[in-house]
């Protein structure tokens, strides 16, 4: 079957002139020259500087907050505590966006009133003439805490008598899947294997910490210029402040990375309160230490897999239990758990399936969105389990995977039929081949190869009924404008829209201006989250550009006396396809069409396919628009005396549907190779009774430039995706298999499995020694 036929709208055999080419991104020059303006770069007259008092303990009652000395300090203009937030002290932390969702309780106090539930919970806000003064004021605040018994483990928190952090039972969310006949499935198995895998907190570690400036302008509009993935937060800010939605103007300039950490509101509402209180612009750039406490890190998961498999390698049943530590507030934990539930079986078809998933509250840091969004944790466990099954039954692990890959037309975990291409096999085969020969072991070093495949959704949960809008217009001189409030979080979101528009209107990328990130002068595009920005805003832009093209070509068809489909646009000209000598510059075309009153611009809306949710008893239903598939392979060495792991080669191979900008795709693959390496080997937030012990870059260990292996990107294009030109989302997908491939490579090298990430030298050495002892 020609897999591109799966989606009727997909484009096969189209000759693309700009899309997929290695065009320099149009945000590159300003960034390379250091001219790009980020949220923290703005200065305004009379601007004040903010500081936030974060709780230094995880579970305590607040008996009193004495701010008298802080308020009395000269140069301090505002000190706010919960006592000042009389009208409303709650901010929505649910999935943001146009249509909302809503789970049981996803509000969070803006400032802690009588109780702190996690280390870092904000207690007071300060605005002063300088950061130094604000810090001095902060140091003068006396919080009278009464420590209370907390709960720091998601299993403990579900036990009777546990301290209650959330709701009345600490259960933030639960899901189940009941599919096929689980007993029969295990009966059919020749082998049954059970393993439990755990993973840790991971910090987004974006280069730009939370930063924003807020001010009330001459029209009494509250303006916030913030480093956010979501300009639609203006609604949550307005709701929290009790002012109309149309009085809050939230803009996002260029953003220095988000990875999900700037998905839920961070500092915006704090600055809004201070700006309203002082009537002056207020700025805050979080220090790195406070940034660690100002957004939610990746959820730690405990995942138990019980798998039935025949001796031929066919998986007959999977029983999976997922538990995530939500931390002290719900934030996006329910959705992240849902992603993990859907992704529990990786890219495999499992007809007899039983999944129980729970997210429980604790007094740990509230975890939240982070690239991979639960799917990655679930996939990492599943791919470790597949490797262990292969070992158990004595089969090559890729061969085992081949026997179980889901295929187009198959139902997935929730019974959704897979429509787009599944090129896991091609990707895994090419990635493994790219690793080359495994070096022979030396005196101290053993080598290993690892592979992992994945299935990761792109686009939002379908019952969110996601939409995106974009405006495209041609100017009288033949240049083009795109207006789309997509936030550019560094992945080339803005540039991609220029490339798409340029392809359709025949205008070079550098003659296209994209206005982005400002949702009050541009149509709202929705969030830059869920690997949806290119899919959704790209699609809306494609629709708008095609509408402009159609308008103009209809007019030009009359002029050239041909039908519109006999015309094309390229290189700033309109021409007759089978007689290119008959041509006109786009500039002249626009003039001509304008004189005839033809619309030269268009505002389009793109609607993702909706669905109505899951059956709560069986977990069956349609959750996501579509999925991306691929593989990552890694070659590692392990020092058997110390347990140190070195990643030598890291290869990502992904079916991206259609690359819009190949270099941008490679950038995502390379970045994910390192982020996944950090998760596999060294990154871990260490909490003692809820208190973060390594909240700085000297102790929280992301890979440095000296840890970078040889990275190779293999980009395959099935053109079977739902995005523009058949593209699929890639931001999260390319990250999903990386850590699993490294963990599998380490297991291959040392001959035994470590079930608990990250694979620190100490854990690796212990595993080597235990393995030696057991022989």
């Amino acid at each position: 079957m020609n897999q591109t036929e799966a989606f009727p709208g997909s484009i096969a055999n189209v000759n693309l002139r700009q899309v997929g080419k290695n065009k320099p991104r149009n945000d590159a020059p300003t960034k390379v020259h250091g001219k790009a303006i980020y949220a923290g770069d703005f200065y305004m007259e009379d601007m004040l500087f903010a500081k936030v008092l974060h709780s230094d303990r995880a579970s305590a009652n607040i008996r009193n907050v004495d701010i008298s000395a802080a308020r009395a300090l000269r140069g301090v203009h505002s000190v706010l505590t919960a006592a000042d937030l009389t009208a409303c002290n709650a901010v929505m932390t649910d999935l943001p966006g146009q249509t909302g969702g809503g789970t049981k309780d996803t509000t969070q106090p803006i400032l802690a009133a009588d109780r702190v539930r996690f280390h870092g919970e904000p207690i007071a806000l300060i605005a002063a003439e300088s950061y130094e003064l604000a810090q001095q004021a902060l140091d003068l605040i006396v919080v009278d805490y009464e420590d209370t018994e907390g709960v720091y483990d998601p299993f403990d928190s579900q036990k009777p008598g546990a301290a209650i952090v959330y709701s009345d039972d600490n259960i933030v969310a639960d899901y189940k899947i009941r599919k096929g006949d689980i007993e029969k499935g295990f009966d059919e198995a020749d082998y049954v294997l059970q393993n439990t895998f755990t993973s840790q907190y991971q910090e987004q570690a974006f280069m730009e910490p939370e930063a924003a400036v807020a001010w009330v302008d001459e029209h009494e509009i509250l303006n916030i210029r913030s480093s956010t993935q979501v300009v639609e937060h203006f609604r949550a800010v307005a709701n929290a402040l009790g002012i109309p939605h149309n009085r809050v103007h939230l803009q996002a300039p260029y953003i220095g990375g988000g990875f999900g950490g700037k998905e839920v509101m961070t500092i915006e509402v704090w600055l809004a309160l201070l700006a309203m209180d002082t009537k002056r612009p207020v700025k805050l750039i979080q220090t790195r230490e406070n940034s660690f406490l100002s957004h939610g890190p990746r959820h730690p998961f405990t995942i138990t897999h019980k798998t039935g498999v025949t001796k031929d390698g066919k998986v007959t049943a999977m029983k999976i239990k997922l538990t995530s530590d939500a931390g002290a507030y719900a934030k996006l934990s329910p959705y992240i758990l849902l992603y993990a539930t859907v992704g529990a079986t990786g890219p495999y078809r499992v007809d007899n399936l039983w999944v129980d998933a729970t997210s429980a509250a604790t007094n740990n840091l509230p975890a939240c969105a982070f690239r991979g969004f639960g799917t990655m944790q679930a996939n990492t466990a599943c791919e470790a389990q597949m490797e262990e099954i292969a070992k158990l039954i004595g089969m090559d692990s890729l061969e085992l995977r081949r026997k179980n890959f889901i295929q187009p037309g198959d139902p997935n975990t929730t019974g959704q039929i897979i429509r787009s291409s599944v090129w896991c096999d091609q990707c895994a085969t090419q990635a493994l081949a790219a690793l080359g020969e495994q070096p022979s072991n030396s005196e101290h070093l053993v080598y290993g190869h690892g592979i992992a495949c994945y299935q990761q959704s792109y686009g939002r949960i379908r019952w969110m009924k996601d939409t995106s809008e974009s405006w495209v217009g041609l100017e009288m001189d033949g240049t083009a404008i795109v207006r789309c409030a997509v936030t550019d979080i560094g992945a080339g979101q803005m540039s991609a829209l220029a490339q798409i528009t340029g392809e359709i209107l025949g205008v070079p990328m550098d003659e296209i201006t994209v206005y982005f990130g400002d949702g009050h002068v541009n149509p709202l595009a929705g969030t830059s989250t869920a690997s949806r920005a290119l899919y959704m805003s790209g699609k809306a832009t494609e629709l708008a550009a095609r509408a402009v093209r159609d308008n103009l070509l209809q007019c030009m068809a009359r002029h050239f006396e041909v039908s519109p489909d006999e015309l094309d646009l390229a290189d700033s000209t309109v021409f007759v396809l089978d007689n290119p000598e008959r041509r006109m510059s786009i500039k002249d075309m626009v003039k001509l069409c304008a004189a005839e009153g033809v619309h030269r611009h268009n505002l389009s809306i793109f609607k993702a396919p909706p669905s109505e949710g899951l059956d709560p008893e069986t977990g069956q239903g349609e959750v996501f628009p579509d999925f991306t598939y691929g593989a990552h392979a890694a070659q590692v060495s392990v020092d058997i005396d110390t347990g140190e792991v070195t990643v030598i080669k890291s290869v990502g191979a992904h079916d991206v549907g259609q690359a819009i900008n190949l270099r941008a795709v490679e950038g995502q693959i390379e970045g994910s190779a390192l982020m996944g390496q950090g998760f596999a080997l060294s990154e871990e937030l260490i909490l003692e009774k809820g208190v973060l012990k390594n909240g700085s870059f000297s102790e929280y260990l992301i890979p440095t430039s000296e840890d970078v292996p040889e990275i190779q990107s293999i980009v395959l294009e099935s053109r079977s995706g739902l995005g523009p030109f058949g593209s699929k989302g890639i931001g999260e997908p390319v990250f999903a298999p990386v850590a699993a491939s490294i963990a599998n490579a380490v297991a291959d090298a040392i001959g035994t499995r470590i079930h608990d990430l990250p694979l620190t030298p100490e854990k690796v050495l212990r595993a080597i020694n235990e393995n030696k002892a057991s022989r």
């Binding site: 230490e289 012990k693 870059f697 260990l701 440095t704 000296e706 030298p761 100490e762 050495l765």
Partner: protein, 286 residues
């Protein structure tokens, strides 16, 4: 954020020593690559610093016969850029090579690394294996102290508050010698050492004539494993004796558990890395 602090910026060594002599709790500041994180992390209480940034006379690498002297403000990058350190102190060169990350190496100084007193200071084990000495200067004069006698306890040394460490010197190792360093850490760049080991083995006629073993991050201070050294001196080394020496070195360790590693892991790796480096060194010289 950084707390407010006082900073004087003398332009000569004499002025720097004067600034240090004046007050009680005043500390010199060179590359500040440790100091800034410590200030931000509220681990450093001093708020009065004397910057050595303008004291260029402390930035040099000098050779006088077999004697090599580094001015205290010599940076890790200076050590790597010098054509001779690789042979004059191979372990020091190796330590500088994997010292923190590239940015830190251009700022961090040898004097700062020695004076910070951290058991994880990477140049110290290397310097101990070449019997380095440090010169301590003050307005009232100067004295030379063996680095081996410099540290008293965790982050404590014989350096007085009015003194400045002005140079580090040592004699070039003998002809037939091997001088190695291994840094075990949780990542390759910008990492704090979990276990650091440096060894020096010199041999003549198949006999070990000098053995030096120094270990970092496994006790309150970097230290020389003297019992292990004594086991090796004057002997032809083999697997058994190397194993015995490595065991003796590990026995002298007093590591702690912290967020980077357990004491037990540090002990195990102190043993295995000492054994590994001794084996490699002996192979090179025999």
């Amino acid at each position: 954020m950084l707390p407010p602090f006082d900073l004087s910026q003398p332009q000569s060594l004499a002025d720097a020593l004067q600034a240090l002599a004046g007050k009680g709790d005043t500390r010199p500041l060179a590359g500040a690559t440790n100091l800034v994180p410590d200030l931000r992390g509220k681990r450093e209480t001093c708020r009065d610093f004397v910057s050595l940034d303008g004291v260029n006379e402390l930035r040099y690498i000098k050779r006088d016969g077999d004697r090599v002297t580094l001015g205290a403000r010599t940076t890790m990058a200076d050590i790597l850029d010098d054509s001779g350190i690789r042979t004059d102190a191979p372990a020091l060169y190796a330590a500088a090579e994997i010292f923190a990350g590239r940015m830190v190496r251009t700022a961090a100084t040898i004097g700062g690394n020695v004076c910070c007193g951290s058991p994880s200071a990477d140049t110290v084990p290397a310097l101990l294996t070449v019997d380095a000495e440090v010169t301590l200067s003050s307005v009232s004069g100067q004295r030379t102290v063996a680095l081996d006698e410099f540290y008293i306890d965790y982050k404590k040394s014989v350096l007085r508050s009015d003194e400045l460490l002005t140079s580090v010197s040592w004699n070039v190792p003998p002809q037939n010698s091997a001088n190695l360093f291994y840094k075990l850490a949780r990542r390759k760049g910008d990492a704090i050492t979990v276990t650091g080991v440096a060894v020096m083995i010199a041999a003549e006629d198949g006999v070990c004539t000098r053995a030096r073993i120094a270990l970092g991050s496994v006790a309150p201070t970097v230290f020389r494993a003297s019992a292990a050294e004594d086991l090796l001196a004057g002997k032809a080394l083999d697997e058994a004796i190397i194993e015995q020496a490595a065991r003796a070195a590990a026995d002298q360790c007093a590591p702690i558990d912290d967020i980077r590693a357990s004491a037990d892991y540090r002990l195990q790796t102190a043993f295995s890395l000492t054994r590994r480096l001794l084996t490699q060194a002996w192979k090179q010289v025999s």
